[in-house]
């Protein structure tokens, strides 16, 4: 039992570590900002997720304690990571992209950082 638990925990730790490493490597290697955004999101979600799962298992199986902190950490991580990524993307768009270079949105409103200085006819249709 202990062996199985330890193997499971180790596997999760290794998975977390690998994603962390891949994320960091991608941050260095990918060519431009928008592509580079993808790398740390992998590291922060899957990488840290793996470590957190390992932690839950460790406490539950080895120390016989049930903890919720890791779940809270996960929730906060999943909430905050998209926001920071969102802002990074927005900042890049604002600084680098011209509206005419962007593809059509396919709806009657334009891209969010350009068209919505005043919400005149925003329909509020959320695409996500």
């Amino acid at each position: 039992m202990t062996l199985v638990s330890e193997i499971a925990i180790s596997v999760l730790l290794v998975i977390g570590g690998v994603f962390g490493l891949v994320g960091s490597y991608g941050l260095l290697k990918l060519p431009d900002t928008m592509s580079r955004l993808h790398a740390p999101t992998k590291a922060s979600t899957l990488g840290i997720g793996g470590v957190l799962l390992a932690s839950i298992l460790h406490f539950a199986l080895i120390e016989q304690k049930y903890t919720v902190e890791e779940i809270l950490v996960t929730i906060f991580l999943f909430i905050t990571a998209p926001i920071s990524t969102h802002f990074l993307a927005k900042a890049w768009l604002h600084r680098n992209a011209r509206p005419e270079d962007l593809p059509e949105t396919g709806t009657d409103c334009g891209w969010i950082g350009y068209d919505l200085a005043e919400p005149k006819e925003a329909e509020g249709t959320e695409s996500d």
């Binding site: 802002f87 600084r95 969010i112 950082g113 919505l116 200085a117 925003a122 959320e126």
Partner: protein
């Protein structure tokens, strides 16, 4: 108690005129008069005891360990002075009511006047010399306010500044003198000091103490060579001049000399310093007064002269001299106050105080003329008025005194002084009131209403009565006062007009005749005076003060010229040098404590810390990047705290870090993107050396400490946190209990800092910076979608969670990591997030509580917690705690310290939010628009317009 009340009454009463002025000028005058009258009444209740020769005392312990106690005593001398201060004060209040014009803020005037009155009464009643010094400085400050009352007049401001500089400087010298005196005797109580004449005069410190105390007394009483401030103080309204410069403030120096007369006088030093200074002052003042054309300047210099006369009498060191001094103090107060008031009436009525433009007022202003005539004749020393009596006593004394082996030196000079004195008194009458009527007065003169002349008239009645019946009216008062001054048996003297044919009578005769002769020759003499070069006191004073100010400024500028780098360099250099000096002057052995093994995680943190710090040095040009790097440093430090098992510190550090980075980010918005310029390479090299030495020095010091075993107060805290304060969290217990008073002070500082940020932005927006902000162009185009949906939604989601976390941190603070400070920061971060997400104006409209109020309430709460301890009979902010149990919950602890912690919490939240608000005000000034919606994307479909386009 009653004596303390007499001194306290004017101070308490000073609050009233400002309030009552809303009820009109009469109301203000009445309430001020009532305060003074009440104090005078209280004083008079002690009169029977004082006249029986008793000493009334009041003692309240204040700071007994410092020897500073609120002790008052009342003897004859104090009674005379307190009576003069309060009695003439009443007359001045009446006079000022009619003197000041409608445009003068009268409530302010009366408030200042009462402050001054309280300070003066405090001086003359104090038994403790330290308390006396406090009141002494208070008179300097309050007279500054009074002299500079007409703030719009540059002369008034300059005169006030000069008076403050001179008397304040003298006061500082006197503090030193009094401390020496107290040190010699071993007590700061005047009653004790006065018993120890022999010890004081035998002490080698007698002379320094004497010089320092006399410096204080001479500056206050305008003795040569410090006499120059008094005429410049004449820029004050006349009631102030009449009060301060006839009866009270300038007499404070005389009072002090009289008070300390029993212990200081009687030595050759005293005689030669005091009597000579007095004599010179008398002559110089009288001579200048003779040639002044401004009525008030004439009276000012005549006051200088008469103060010199009294100083001279005190300086003689004989008992009869002291009696004459006391008598002349009383007489001078009566006729000089009356004369100042008549000068004010003339000014008020003819709209000029220039003697050259006056004359012939006798028939135009008969009442004023009568008053001025009697008072001026008294000043000239004409029988049967009171001035004659005391001047005769002075001349008689001078005739019998040998100065440096010369028997004629003093009598001759005293006679010349009296002669000048008679001359300027005659001139005051002849050149203002006598002579032909003129046609070119600036304003047609006429007698004023009774309100203005009744006060001086009352004083001249006294002048006449004292002159006619000296023994009856003034005899007992002079007797008890002289008894108090001399501190023993009175000499044989009688107060009467006719002493027979004495040397003094001849001297008087010479003075009066000579005075009349000088008046006749005044025109050619004045021409001579005007062409003689003489030092201009104001120019010398200004040059002196200017030079000192420049020297101070030059010195200060070298230390800190406003550039932060200079200030830091000086600070670091001095500290490092002090450290090196200490190191090289002591012995040193390496620490023996076994060091812990180096593990990879701290090394990694250390490398990151170093890298971030070094990167900051390289990239500080880019402010945004620099801010990020600062954030990195802060985070690693927080992690370091966690690693070293200091969760409280870590929590505090990380929340402070978040708040400060957010606020700095907002502030950064208004700064240029790059730093302006670099220092030249050599200076940077110098700064590098200084910074490196300071850093390495600090590092070595910490290393030296950590390689040794040492004990700190922590052991006490660890041992006492639970039994003494009922908390498991030692850090929190230190904050809210062991060092609660520190915390109390710190939250006040925090609150003040926040208010200062607010005030600074307020001032900034009003000034040129505000205009620059209004014209400010952004470096980049404004991004659309300033309030993104994603952030707004998540921010709302987080708010209740974070608030719960904050409450949890607060409640558990006493026993687990947390506490009011951290909770406050966490809650502030949650609120900051709302402001960031939805924009300031939107969030602001949803705010219920004022941040100023929140800070104030927090501090108030902390204060009330502290005061609660007093009710329980224990020292301020002592906490108490107990364990309670409400079924079905576990047993829990409640401590009064938690209320203090709540105060901390509220202050922190208020301070952070006020700083944010101030910054957002800047943003608003740059033209940032207001949003009415929480986010830029509207979630509901807009209602179609009835008439669609």
């Amino acid at each position: 108690m009653s004596l303390a009340l007499i001194a306290a009454l004017p101070f308490l009463g000073a609050l009233l005129p400002g309030l009552m002025i809303r009820g009109g000028r009469d109301a203000a005058a009445w309430v001020t008069g009532a305060v003074s009258a009440l104090a005078l009444l209280l004083l008079m209740t002690h009169a029977p005891a004082v006249f029986r020769g008793e000493i009334v005392q009041t003692r309240i312990d204040w700071l007994p360990t410092l020897g500073l106690n609120v002790t008052f005593f009342l003897d004859g001398l104090g009674f005379l002075f307190a009576g003069l201060i309060l009695g003439i004060g009443l007359l001045i209040i009446l006079y000022a009511r009619f003197y000041l014009s409608k445009d003068d803020p009268m409530g302010q005037f009366y408030a200042y006047l009462l402050l001054f009155q309280g300070a003066m009464v405090g001086i003359v009643l104090s038994d403790n010399v330290l308390l006396l010094l406090v009141f002494w400085e208070l008179t300097s400050l309050s007279s500054f306010l009074l002299i500079g009352y007409w703030k719009h007049l540059p002369e008034g401001r300059q005169g006030a500044r000069m008076a403050l500089a001179v008397t304040g400087m003298g006061g500082l010298a006197m503090i030193a003198g009094m401390l020496i005196l107290g040190d010699i005797v071993g007590s700061y109580d005047l009653t004790v000091i006065l018993q120890n004449r022999a010890i004081i005069q035998a002490s080698p410190l007698y002379l320094p103490a004497l010089l320092l105390i006399l410096l204080g007394a001479f500056t206050k009483s305008a003795q040569f060579p410090f006499h120059f401030w008094l005429p410049h103080a004449m820029a004050a309204p006349t009631p102030v001049s009449a009060y301060l410069h006839s009866a009270t403030m300038v007499k404070a120096g005389l009072f002090l000399m009289a008070r300390l007369w029993p212990v200081l006088s009687g030595t050759p030093e005293w005689f030669y310093i005091v009597a000579t200074t007095g004599l010179i002052t008398m002559l110089v003042g009288a001579k200048i007064a003779l040639f002044k054309d401004d009525l008030k300047a004439l009276l000012a210099f005549s006051t200088v002269s008469h103060l010199g006369l009294i100083t001279f009498l005190l300086g003689l060191g004989t008992r009869i001299g002291a009696v004459a001094a006391v008598f002349h103090i009383l007489n001078h107060a009566t006729f000089k106050a009356a004369l100042f008031m008549t000068a004010g009436i003339v000014d008020h009525s003819a709209h000029t105080r220039d003697i050259g433009r006056l004359g012939g007022l006798r028939s135009l202003m008969p009442v004023t003329f009568t008053i001025a005539l009697i008072a001026a004749l008294s000043m000239a020393g004409i029988p049967p008025l009171n001035g004659f009596l005391s001047k005769e006593m002075m001349l008689e004394e001078a005739a019998h005194t040998v100065w440096a082996g010369s028997a004629w030196f003093l009598p001759v000079l005293a006679t010349i002084g009296a002669l000048f004195s008679a001359a300027y008194s005659f001139r005051y009458i002849a050149h203002v009131f006598l002579g032909p009527k003129r046609t070119d007065y600036p304003h047609e003169p006429h007698d004023p209403g009774i309100g203005l002349w009744v006060a001086p008239a009352f004083l001249t009645v006294l002048v006449v009565l004292i002159g006619a019946f000296p023994a009856l009216i003034a005899g007992p008062l002079v007797a008890i006062t002289s008894g108090a001054v001399t501190g023993g048996a009175l000499p044989d003297y009688t107060l009467k007009l006719w002493h027979g044919v004495t040397p003094a009578l001849f001297m008087s005769l010479i003075a009066v005749v000579g005075g009349a002769a000088i008046l006749a020759l005044h025109r050619p003499l004045a021409r001579l005076w005007n062409i003689t070069p003489r030092p201009e006191a104001k120019a010398i004073f200004d040059a002196l003060v200017g030079g000192l100010a420049r020297a101070a400024l030059a010195f200060t500028d070298r230390l800190h010229n406003g550039a932060l780098s200079r200030y830091l360099a000086v600070m670091a250099l001095v500290t490092t040098l002090a450290g090196f000096a200490a190191f090289f002057s002591g012995t040193h052995a390496p620490g023996l404590r076994v060091t812990l093994p180096l593990s990879p995680v701290p090394v990694l943190g250390w490398i990151l810390l170093m890298a971030a710090s070094l990167a900051l040095v390289v990239y500080y040009h880019q402010r945004l990047l620099a801010l990020v790097l600062v954030g990195v440093v802060g985070l690693i430090v927080s992690i370091g705290f966690v690693y070293l098992s200091a969760p409280d510190l870590a929590l505090t550090q990380i929340s402070v870090e978040v708040v400060s980075v957010l606020l700095m980010l907002l502030a950064l918005n208004f700064l240029p993107r790059d730093t302006a310029r670099d220092s030249p390479p050599l200076r940077r090299l110098r700064d590098l050396v200084i910074a490196g030495a300071a850093g390495l020095g600090t590092g070595s010091l910490i290393y030296a400490i950590m390689t040794r075993d040492f004990s700190t107060i922590s052991d006490f805290h660890v041992a006492n946190a639970l039994p003494g304060a009922g908390g498991h969290n030692i850090v929190n217990v230190i904050i809210v209990d062991f060092r609660a008073f520190d915390t109390y002070g710190e939250i006040i500082v925090l609150g003040i800092a926040a208010l200062v940020i607010y005030a600074l932005t307020e001032a900034l927006l009003g000034g040129p910076a505000g205009r620059r902000l209004a014209e400010w162009k952004r470096a980049e185009a404004v991004a659309g979608d300033r309030h993104p949906l994603l952030l707004v939604v998540v921010g709302r989601l987080m708010l209740p969670i974070v608030l719960v976390v904050g409450i949890d941190l607060f409640l558990r603070g006493h026993n687990a990591p947390g506490g009011g400070f951290i909770a406050g920061l966490v809650v502030a971060i949650a609120l900051l997030l709302q402001y960031m997400a939805s924009g300031f104006a939107w969030a602001e409209q949803r705010r219920r509580y004022n941040y100023h109020g929140m800070i104030g309430f927090g501090i108030l709460l902390a204060t009330l917690t502290g005061l609660g301890s007093w009710i329980a009979g224990v020292p301020f902010l002592t906490s108490s705690f107990g364990y309670f149990r409400i079924p079905p919950f576990e047993k829990f602890e409640l401590a009064t310290a938690m209320i203090l912690d709540l105060g901390v919490f509220l202050t922190v939240v208020g301070a952070v939010m006020l700083a944010l608000w101030s910054l957002s005000r800047l943003a608003r000034r740059t033209g940032e628009t207001l949003n009415t919606e929480p986010m830029d994307v509207r979630l509901t479909k807009p209602q179609p317009e009835p008439e669609g386009e």
